[in-house]
Each structure stands twice: as C-alpha cells, then as structure tokens.
Symmetry: C2
Subunit: 333 residues, 2 copies
C-alpha cells in the first residue's frame, strides 16, 4: 500500500502508548459514556501528548458521516447571497461541521451535477434559489438530505422570506403615495421567487385598484438596470418594482444618466435590502428580510431533520418588512 501521509499520529499509536485497544481509544474519544472514566482520562492525556487528531476521512468512511454541509447559491456574484452564506457558515461552524460552498451559475444542470459530485462527501445540501424543476428537486430530496432557501416544494424542508405579505407592504406603500400603475421588472424565468413575486404583485395591485404590468425578464444584476429602466420609462408606470436590489440599483443609475428624477418622476422599489441599498443614490426603498437567519435555519433544518419525505417537511417562513427610503415618493400626474 502507498504510504502517502504516513507521518501523522494514528489511533494505533495512541492505543499502543496507552496500553489499550484501538477500539477503546475510539470510544474514549467519541463515546465518553461507554468507557471507564480513568481509562478515558489516560487515553486523552496520551492522545494530547502525542499530538493526535482524528483523521476525518478515516472516520467518515465506516460511519458514512462527513460532518460536512454543502451550500449552493445560484449566483455567487449577487450580494444578496452573502447574508445567506454568512448565516450558513456560522451555523455550520457552530454545529462543529464544515461548510462547502458552490456556485451553480443559474444552471439547473450544474446544480444536479454538483450534488452528484459531492454525494458521499457531504451529509447534506442546502440549495438557495434553486433553478431545478419541482420534480428534479423532489427526486433528489428522496435520495439526499436537502433543504431549500427561497423555494418551497411540498415535502421538502425549506426556509423562505415571506413574499406575499412583503409584496402587500410594497403595494400598500405605493398606493398610499397615490400610484395607480406599477411595473414589475421581472427576474429569471426559472426563478421560483420571481414567479411568486409577480403573482403577489398582480393579486395585490388588483385589490388596491392599481394596474400592474410585468416587463422583462432582465438579468438580476446591476447591468440589467439600463434596459429595465428604459422599459419602465417607455411603459409609463409611475412606480417600478424591481426583481431585486441589484436590478433596482442599476435602474437608479440609468435614470440618473437619463435625467429622470427618482422619486419625483418615478418611484423605485427593490427586494432583499442588500449591502449598499441604504447608501445608493437615492437610498432604495426595499423589502428587507433576515437572510442570515434563513441561512442559519436552513442548516439547522438540515442537521436536525431526518431524510425528508415521511413526516411532513418543515416549511419556515420568515417575516419581511419594507425599508422605506428615498427612492419612493408621491405619484405625479
């Protein structure tokens, strides 16, 4: 056999030095209850003296547990995910686990490919803003521990930030400012959340007697803002609801370039309250949610839950609130 990293202290060294069997060492270190307190103390001392550290790979092989969690985000470039990444990293670390991070680049194939590749290396997957179809996700959830962020599917544990009530807050706010026509600048076609947002906007706008139009889709990035701004300007709505803050910020810049005054000429609202939303110009009115918390809870759910399917899966909905800033104002005309 190749002796590749052969220099590390192993459980055999500790066992020999302590005068016990390897299984006893294993137990002393992992199952404190199943071994004599004295023996245990002795073993621990020896292990310390020898600089012993459990080899996580060797432990994972027989046990099948790697103490590792994978998080996939659909676009690592989007600051929106930073909160989620942060929260997931914190919680994973707090649980003594390790976080693996992957970017799936808006591609459902990369999502499933990554899962395939990491199967066996991780104890479970957290997928934020999955672009896979409901069927694909359900099927994967059958074979793997899996929790979702910003996506809900029956039978699969998930954490989302409330979009219905949040969207109601947006529309209510705009209505109170006298707006009667809003445009939704849509996000990616495969985005579940984009579909939900539009549904909620349309339904709520109707309740408030407002007209609502969907324009796009646009790339949910700052660079998508120019086209989105032009589109909404051409459409004539007095209020624009962007799919996310990135797009909203891009629109703000385009409006500034074109001499369109925000919020005098047009009001702009975003979703997510990302870093920068409070200091762009003008500061952006946006729907804020606790995304770090979402990351934390998704990891909790993953580590706590048994394989989904049997019992009804937990679906967590976090509250959202509208951060009203200077990008929204009274309707003109």
């Amino acid at each position: 056999m190749a002796r590749v990293a052969g220099n590390r202290t192993t459980i055999y060294d500790v066992a020999r030095e302590a005068g016990v069997a390897t299984s006893t060492v294993s137990r002393a270190l992992a199952n404190p209850g199943r071994v004599n307190a004295h023996t245990r103390q002795h073993i621990i001392e020896v292990a310390e003296r020898l600089g012993y550290h459990t080899n996580p790979i060797a432990r994972a092989l027989p046990s099948g547990r790697t103490q590792t969690v994978a998080l996939f985000v659909s676009d690592i470039t989007n600051p929106h995910f930073f909160g989620i990444i942060r929260g997931a990293e914190q919680q994973t670390r707090a649980a003594g686990r390790t976080l693996i991070l992957g970017d799936t680049e808006e591609s459902p194939d990369l999502e499933s490919g990554n899962i395939e590749r990491l199967t066996g290396s991780v104890d479970g997957f957290v997928i934020a803003a999955s672009r896979m179809s409901d069927e694909e996700i359900r099927e994967l959830a059958d074979r793997h521990r899996l929790t979702l962020i910003s996506r809900q599917i029956d039978g699969v544990p998930s954490v989302i930030v409330d979009h219905e009530d949040g969207t109601r807050q947006i529309i209510e706010h705009l209505a109170s400012l006298g707006h009667t026509s809003v445009a939704y600048l849509a996000g990616p076609r495969r985005s579940w959340i984009a579909a939900k947002r539009w549904q909620a906007i349309r339904a709520t706008a109707r309740q408030f007697g407002m007209r609502a139009a969907r324009l796009g889709p646009f790339p949910p990035a700052v660079r998508g803002g120019a086209a989105a701004a032009d589109a909404v300007f051409g459409h004539g709505a007095t209020a624009a609801i962007a799919h996310n803050d990135l797009l909203a910020i891009g629109m703000l810049r385009r409006f500034a370039d074109r001499g369109v005054r925000v919020p005098k000429d047009i009001s702009v609202v975003g979703y997510d309250d990302i870093f920068g939303a409070d200091f762009c110009s003008p500061p952006l009115t946006t729907l804020a949610g606790q995304f770090e918390e979402a990351g934390r809870l998704a990891v909790d759910l993953l580590l706590g839950a048994r394989r989904s399917g049997s019992a009804r899966a937990t679906e967590i909905v976090l509250p959202s609130h509208l951060a009203i800033r200077q990008s929204t104002g009274p309707a003109q005309r």
Copy 2:
C-alpha cells in the same frame, strides 16, 4: 461492520458485472493509460449502466488526497472578500476540486484551530488576510500546503495586490489636488496590510512634502466610520485615506450627517473598490485591485506548488489602479 450507506454501487459491483478485478476498474477509471483500451471501454459502460460514482471519501483514505481546498477569510462580513471568495470558488471548481469556506473572525486562534480541524480533510489552505504571526504561519506552512492572500512572508507562496505603487498613486493624486496634510484611518492592529499601507503612506507623503498622520485603529467596517470621520475632522487634515472602503463609506455617511461636504471640505480615499464604492454618495475614489484574480491565482499556486520551503516560494503581486471618483477634490485653505 455497520452498513450505513450500503445502497450505493461500489467498485465491486462494477468489477463483478464487468468480469474483471476491482483493481482493473480502479485503473480504468483513474489511470486510463495503464489498462487495455477495450477493457476500459467496457468497464466504463458497465459503470455508467450501474450508475456508479466514485466515493470520494473512500478514494481519499488510501490516497491521502481529498480534492478539496479550504479558504479562510478574516471576516466573511466584509464585501472585500467576496471577490476573493468568488475567484477561489471558480478556480477550485475549474480544477475539479471542491471549496471549503471558513470565517476566522479576525482571530489568529480560530485560524490555526480551523487548520488543525481540517487537516486531513483538505489538500491545502488559502488564507486571506491572515491575522497570525509570521512565525505561526511559517510553522504551519512547513506542515501544510498553504498560500496567502494579502500577506507576504518569505518562503510562503502568496498573492497580494500592489500596495506600494497603489499608495503612491493615492498620494500623488492628492498632492496634485494641492493637499498638504493627510490622515490615515488605520485598520486592525494585527493586519499586515494595514501596517504596510501606513508605511507606504508615510514614506510617499514625505517624498511629496506632505504631512501624514495615523489615526485609530478603527474597526474596518461601516460602523467604524463615525469615529474615524470625527477623528480626522478634529485632526484637521484636508484628505483622509481610510484603511478600506467600508470604513470610507462609513465616514462619508458621518460627514454627510455632520454637514461636512465631501470633497469640498475634505477628500476621502478608500482601498479595495468594493461593491458599492461606485454608487455611494459621493462615489468613492479608491484603490482598485483584481481580487477575484487574486483568489484564482492563490488556488492555482496551491494546487500547482509542492509543499513550500524548499524552492523559493512564488510571490505574486497584482497591479492596482486608482479609481478616481467624486470623493476627492482640490484642497481648500
């Protein structure tokens, strides 16, 4: 033995089905050259048919290679690191490896603890903005594959963004605007880059006949900005160089609150050109560097290099350039 995840197809299944030995299957899949082309083709077909996927853990045990790279950042909350994380993730993925992400929360102990914990689980470590001492890092580099970002130590491979020339650009820019007194709003005491920046500022300022003062340290975050802004205002310098953009943006906000006009009353410069630096108010003049590239190169170095120590370690210095925006202007008085 416990048969925990016993349902997956193994190399034994493939060997049996293909009528060959497991070693042949192993070779066919990993060492294409060392096996008959026909046999190989057959084995691959069988493997595919059986839905076989190599178990990465089982492969890692005898080989000692996990195909995994760990990246530690000193504060996952700081958008500055997002570029680095992105670049590292991309390059890791491109190399068919997996990225593990860790936050060390500005703590040298958490850094070394994390390394200890992950030893055996990863093939190497990339540490961005390490807070450990030179000695600690050198010692770790002796025993592990390790590359540094934003830190240089003899004998350890590293990638940094040029700070000397960059700082020269800043000072030159301020001098050309007629400033004769600058203040550096310092970053964390343990930060190598903070020390370097101050050295470069002081040296270059002297060349340009400017006075330079160091104030702080301040938390390198937006919340540190208020104290920093007040400090520089009290000091009387006409130009402020913040340790990073986060701090600079915080200062901008404080100045706005206090009615201090930027750049009329005071010029503000940052480092890093983070997301938001171009749309804060006023847009920030800042030293831009290719941090995604730094992340990519650090991973390259890690995967390409043999254990450091013997040959002279590679030290990459990426160029930087000053993004001049509206936060700097002619000196008053």
